[in-house]
Symmetry: C2
């Protein structure tokens, strides 16, 4: 078929919010919109909000739906991209939901579906910090730890379509149940829990002041601020988490002989370069064999927009192949 | 080109021994031979022994070198299969050795090179316990722990051509240096070390009698015998090793969403089904998400011949593609 010159919609659908953008074939963001997800209101209501947000983003781009080539949707959970079905997304309360078909009917454009972390990793690989890498891992450190793999230049799904879940690999087998996985030890949630535990065991920390004593409301930015200020408790916990994260990433680099690892997510973005450097040092200490120590560990470049860009790009590429 | 109907030579080159076989295009072993590797005598002497062994295997098959389509060589170390170069093989004392070209000159047939574990995993995937699996891991538990990956139906090499090294992933980050990797904890060598340590701390074990008190000469078969007889020390150590191996494999299954894992190597073969069952149970306990618990954990079928078959098959397939 002839090369497409129309823009695509890219949608990053989260459990709480959705971000929507219109992306041109030369990767400019022409317009955008945001909506709450409100999964509790049911699938149909969520899809209606996607459509609403999409139309707003199109209007912001001064376009109409007839100008849109296709839509890419990144959904949080296990998806079957070939069938366009969300197999299971706990946050959305979706199971075997044919989201691509349902949205295509509502909007009248072809819809392509993938996992939310996969679309962000894809965006970074095609346009951001992973550009040019044929074999890379993306790790998103935030509330949880998500991951996605590019192998031989393409997203890798595996047999059960769930590949990339580095956050659920066991990092500390000798820990008690519920405290063994990478996510249990190195996510923002885990880092905050460990800081709070130390504070409650009578260690002094800048965090107490930064969160006004509300330990349920500690954000990545507060952790980053305390880290930057040299707060001892925070540095201790973050150093430990970054080292363990690096050990686990080194294992994946050893297993897959990766060229590059892109680090993203709220905690990585908040602390920035010092965090990436700590993880890098640990990866280089533990990767095998020596030639694998040449792997590049880099920060994501597209940050919040990685999902929107990636979803639009996946849709445009799949449309070309159809 | 026309389909090849000639047999291939398959060579499994180890640090100590080499096994050589003539394999027909319909995968029958027509003739075989063995030689010592004797790497200390230098590359040229090793290559001469490969040629000698190859000619003996051809004679045993009642064929001549003119009947041979090509040769596949599995070498222990990092290799570049496209260039036919052994990048680094510590056991052989080879570095950047153009083994494929050197052997092709000596024998007058096309030579294809790969890593020794890769060729065995390939053999199992095409002909043995991994038949029909598009995404699988092979783990060989013996003196060390080797591994190889089939992704999207093909051997996966990664950027530095070293993919599959599961034995060098860190399994226990909190252990002291030298005791952290999977190989350091779950290889036959590690299992024997742990048994001997327990015996030396005054635990009674059948192993003492089975090895006639020579703790430097404990073989996989002795471990298997003591395990079978219910020896408490041996069971304790093997159960622990199998569980940790299962946890690490579960991580790889979680990361790559694998359909199948083939277990081979001296220790696996010696203990057999009970060992595979222990690993299987641990993998099912720790794989994520639930759909990944459907992964099949199976014992290798080609055992000692996996390398010879795999090397010959790789050579035949690459010849077809040329």
């Amino acid at each position: 078929m002839a090369k497409n010159h129309k823009p695509a919609l890219g949608i990053d659908l989260g459990g709480t919010n959705m971000q929507i953008g219109v992306v041109s074939p030369d990767f400019k963001l022409l317009g955008s919109a945001k909506r709450k997800t409100k999964a509790a209101e049911g699938t149909s209501a969520v899809l209606d909000r996607i459509v609403e947000g999409a139309l707003e983003a199109i209007a912001n781009a001064k376009l109409s739906i007839r100008d849109i080539a296709c839509l890419g949707l990144g959904a949080p959970g296990a998806v079957d991209p070939d069938q366009g079905v969300v197999l299971e997304a706990v946050n959305l309360r979706w199971k075997n939901t044919p989201a691509a078909e349902l949205l295509a009917k509502k909007l009248g454009v072809p819809v392509f579906l993938d996992n939310d972390v996969n679309v962000a990793v894809y965006g970074e690989n095609r346009l951001g910090a992973g550009k040019g890498s044929r074999h890379m891992l993306g790790v998103w450190v935030g509330t949880g730890i998500g991951g996605g793999l590019i192998l031989n230049g393409e997203l890798f799904y595996g047999h059960f379509m769930t590949a990339g879940e580095i956050g659920h690999m066991i990092a500390l087998p000798n820990n008690p149940p519920g405290h063994r996985s990478l996510e249990h030890n190195c996510s923002r949630t885990a880092v905050v829990d460990q800081i709070v535990r130390l504070i409650k065991s009578n260690r002094k920390s800048r965090i107490t002041e930064l969160c006004n004593g509300d330990f349920d409301d500690i954000k990545s930015k507060m952790v980053a601020k305390a880290f930057e200020d040299g707060d001892e408790v925070t540095r201790e916990v973050v150093l430990h988490a970054a080292e363990l994260l690096g050990i686990e990433i080194a294992g994946v680099v050893t297993l897959l002989s990766l060229e590059r690892v892109v680090l993203g997510g709220g905690l990585t973005e908040a602390i920035g370069k010092p965090f990436v450097d700590l993880v890098d040092k640990s990866v280089k200490n533990f990767a095998f064999p020596d030639r694998c120590k040449n792997v590049k560990i880099v920060a994501s470049q597209l940050e919040d927009n990685a999902g929107v860009y990636g979803a639009a790009m996946i849709a445009l590429e799949r449309l070309e192949r159809k």
